[in-house]
């Protein structure tokens, strides 16, 4: 189970990558894509919209179930990965390469408060 060291994580299996300009890229983890199975639809947020931390911001739908994706930090969506909409299977193939959307956080370094790789790994190991 891949858990890249440089990323941050949420308890709901989103990964967060802080970029040079302070924005964050958000995706779902390898654990999440494996639990969901083959993905068939991805609903992405509208650029420009603002979200609270923990608010439903996207939906991924697999053959098994639909799963809500939550904003890991409060912020405004600045970009979405349109290419994923036509190729949801790319997310199954490499979850950490398949970013869903970019957020400009309301508070700088808000992502620092999220789980680190060690904490997330412990969480998923406890679940198995």
């Amino acid at each position: 189970m891949k858990v890249p060291e440089e990323l941050r994580y949420t308890a709901s299996h989103e990964w967060v990558s802080t970029q040079g300009d302070g924005s964050v890229l958000v995706g779902i983890t390898d654990f999440a894509q494996e639990a969901l199975g083959d993905l068939v639809y991805i609903e992405l947020p509208v650029p420009g919209k603002a979200y609270e931390a923990g608010q439903v911001i996207a939906v991924v739908e697999s053959v098994k179930a639909a799963s809500d994706i939550y904003a890991p930090v409060a912020g405004t969506v600045t970009a979405v990965n349109e290419a994923l909409k036509d190729a949801p299977e790319a997310l199954n193939q490499d979850a950490f390469a398949a970013w869903l959307f970019r957020l400009q956080p309301g508070t700088p370094a808000a992502a620092d408060g999220l789980l680190d790789a060690q904490q997330y790994r412990a969480q998923i190991e406890a679940a198995q």
């Binding site: 199975g37 083959d38 639809y41 739908e61 053959v63 639909a66 299977e89 199954n92």
Partner: protein
């Protein structure tokens, strides 16, 4: 502790994701259920269906007994032919759906004349019911010594012949819904995918060798995930979803499996004949979602004639769209537009008559 089939170790070795299905630990997929689905439609795939149970029926009263127990009439089967039937309660509710085979060859005194293959989750209940309704002139034998392997797809029969040459003549010669016994193997040209193929019953100890021979012949292993998307596209019912003991075949798209032609007294007949007279019976039809999203069981369907419910749904990989079977009010016709409540969103769907896909071709 979940039950395991004779092929369990091979599934684990192949990296299958295992799940609990009807009390059995079964492979959901071996990596991608979408790939497995496409493999079956395009070429071939194999399924471990050993969780399904074969029940042999022997004895001098076997024929009369099965004509009483089953809603379809095994009396019209010639040796070597099979049919699809429901097993009913006296009130017409469906206890299970199954395939009944009339075995070929002159039966020796204790040899079975018929074979039933029933669903995993209902097998215990079926067996108790069958035993309760039986008598001394009927012997029922659950084939716990067996495994069942389904090989499905346009290339299935060719691959079976390649993997096990002893079966080559049988698979080449069998018509659809025909079966033959070849040594220790029972080969039936039946399936649950809407493609050509066979289901093979065999002693448990022979199953790993056949599975590996099929793999060596280029047949990919496919799990329950693909099995469900294939059967849904083929418009085939799933027991427990599309029907159960609380509904009759008449409201489950299965009136065609009930044979009322002969004056045959079968369990549930009186209830069905009464129900047939009702004018507003719900009906099982297909749905195709017109937008993005996935239809799933229990979603509410709004029709001009009233409200219905999705009984089973999912994503159809061959169609690249979501489809479902749904119990809808009387009067709804294929082609009618309806609305479905998808996680709080109101989405448009089209009513269709199943099947959606047959022999690799999209029909709707």
């Amino acid at each position: 502790m979940l039950k395991r089939t004779p092929l369990y170790d091979l599934h684990r070795a192949a990296g299958a994701r295992m799940v609990d299905f009807g009390g059995w630990e079964m492979p959901l997929h071996y990596g991608s259920q979408l790939e497995e689905h496409h493999a079956v439609r395009g070429a071939c795939g194999m399924f471990d269906v050993s969780h399904m149970r074969a029940i042999d029926v022997a004895g001098s009263q076997a024929l009369d007994y099965l004509r009483r127990m089953l809603a379809n009439d095994v009396g019209r089967l010639v040796p070597g032919r099979a049919l699809y039937s429901c097993l009913l309660r006296p009130d017409g509710g469906v206890l299970d759906d199954l395939i009944a085979y009339r075995l070929a060859g002159a039966p020796a005194p204790e040899a079975p004349a018929y074979r039933l293959v029933v669903n995993a989750g209902t097998a215990q209940r079926d067996l108790e019911w069958l035993r309760q309704q039986g008598n001394d002139a009927v012997q029922l034998r659950l084939r716990e010594d067996w495994a069942l392997i389904a090989v499905q797809g346009p290339q299935a029969r060719a691959r079976i012949a390649q993997a096990q040459p002893a079966l080559a003549a049988a698979v080449a010669g069998l018509g659809v819904f025909e079966a033959a016994t070849v040594g220790a193997y029972f080969v039936a040209r039946t399936g649950y995918t809407g493609e050509d193929g066979c289901e093979i019953g065999l002693p448990a100890q022979l199953a790993p060798d056949l599975w590996q021979a099929l793999a060596a012949a280029g047949v990919p292993a496919c799990g329950l995930g693909a099995r469900d998307t294939l059967r849904l596209e083929a418009g085939m019912n799933l027991y427990g979803n599309d029907m159960d003991e609380t509904v009759s075949p008449l409201v489950s798209g299965l009136a065609w499996t009930v044979d009322l032609k002969a004056p045959r007294d079968f369990i549930g007949r009186a209830a069905l004949e009464r129900q047939r007279l009702e004018t507003d019976l719900p009906q099982l039809l297909g749905l195709k979602l017109l937008g993005r999203g996935v239809l799933r069981a229990h979603q509410a369907v709004r029709c001009a004639q009233g409200e219905g419910q999705v009984t089973s749904g999912g994503f159809a990989p061959t169609m690249q769209a979501s489809i479902a079977l749904a119990r809808l009010p009387a009067g709804v016709q294929p082609g009618d537009p309806v609305r479905v409540d998808l996680r709080g969103r109101d989405e448009a769907a089209l009513v269709c008559r199943p099947p959606f896909v047959r022999h690799g071709k999209v029909l709707v």
